[in-house]
Symmetry: C2
Subunit: 286 residues, 2 copies
Amino acid sequence: MLGPGDDAAVVAAPDGRVVASTDLLVEGRHFRRDWSTANDVGHKAAARGMSDIAAMGAVPTALLVGFATPGTLPVQWVQDLVSGLREECGAIGAAVVGGDVTAADGITVAVTALGDLQQREPVTLGGARVGDVVAVCGRLGWAAAGFAVLGRGFRSPVHVVNAHRRPEPPYADGPGAAVLGATAMTDVSDGLVADLGHLADASGVRIEVRSAALDVPAKLREVGAALNVDPLTWVLTGGDDYALAATFPRGTDLPAQWRIVGAVIEGDGVRVDGRRWPQGGHEHFR
Amino acid sequence: MLGPGDDAAVVAAPDGRVVASTDLLVEGRHFRRDWSTANDVGHKAAARGMSDIAAMGAVPTALLVGFATPGTLPVQWVQDLVSGLREECGAIGAAVVGGDVTAADGITVAVTALGDLQQREPVTLGGARVGDVVAVCGRLGWAAAGFAVLGRGFRSPVHVVNAHRRPEPPYADGPGAAVLGATAMTDVSDGLVADLGHLADASGVRIEVRSAALDVPAKLREVGAALNVDPLTWVLTGGDDYALAATFPRGTDLPAQWRIVGAVIEGDGVRVDGRRWPQGGHEHFR
């Protein structure tokens, strides 16, 4: 692998295929400099890209970063961003292999993540079958709760605020799900209902979610009580935790980190407790 | 290969390695909507990415595109951009395989190009050796002349204006140079002197360019005369034509599209006719 500095990077693709995904993070939409440090933004940008790779059942291997910035941005901010990107990658054995920097009026971070399928077939959105169970892995609603707290001018509780600043995607459980025989998978970046909707559409099925099966942790209930918000809303519609949602054949022996929250039936769309959920998606900053 | 719409794309990498490069194009810096059509911008964005791949000696295979846009941008502009991207890719057998769209205050196009080395070693910046010849392939100075024309409020001559709007990188000559035994190579995106400077630095050598060996076409001389600019300046410092510059062992039998313009000697940096060139690089819009 060649490092940054050449015209392009050369990345190992031992499988003979490479998984690739591009995401943009725009200041004021995906992050705010008064809410997140540059290091946080780096972690989050890398997480956003690499969770897409994990959601295909692949192992993230490399990251390329395009960075548009006003000339007034302190150099330290850029250095901290790069540190955050490198730390998030390094923790799972991936590396930042290339990039581009250009001047612009606002900050935009473009992240392309690459990954290796390790000889397995990709787990796409389109493979769910009637009779499968629906399961989730990783945190849901935490980043949304943190976003709500920050939006009301608070800086605590720190657990939910940090969840917004620095997600912790369950990267290894993406390839793990592939090994377990997942039929379809996605990462939850737009919100559970919205992302399961994409999966249901691509698979030509309906997904029934049982809200009682979802974990609504005590911490989220406390924050919800304080802000007068039903915390289930965060769990169902919050993005940016980068949990994984997957379908498995009924009877699959799922490890503890996977929680069965619903089933695949005939029909279309997503139902929560038999009803359409009124809000589809995740709100970014205005 | 999976199309856009899943969490990530799966791209063939038959070589067991993949070449990858990310570039950003920012409105007002890399393009202007009153100077270029959306289709032009699509062609140029794809060219910018894929010329980096060719400059490694690889064949471009796939493009991922991140697109940040104000909500006020006409849908037709976006469709034309995508058409331009697809046309530029399709002409050389590559494909747009994925992307991301987000709201932003300005237009930014982030392009990640992937490519296949076809079992050859990558041609990097760092392999030039004392005694090698320096050769260029493709147009130099045309886009810069077009930029100068547009900057003075003219819309013609059409050849140079179109060169600015829609570069024509010699993609196939990148892998071709690798087969011919190129020791180092780069695409000319910052300007010939600047990009040869990167190559000289990476290789630990000096590059001597003989200006008399450079082709200054009649068309550029005409435009130079009209604008009172020495057209050699455009040839030496103009980027955005995405020519290729490479070093080859002396005596390599180079095909006609390669023009020998200098030599690799001991030392550092770039000299033109034995002197430092005063301006290193390519000016983007302010």
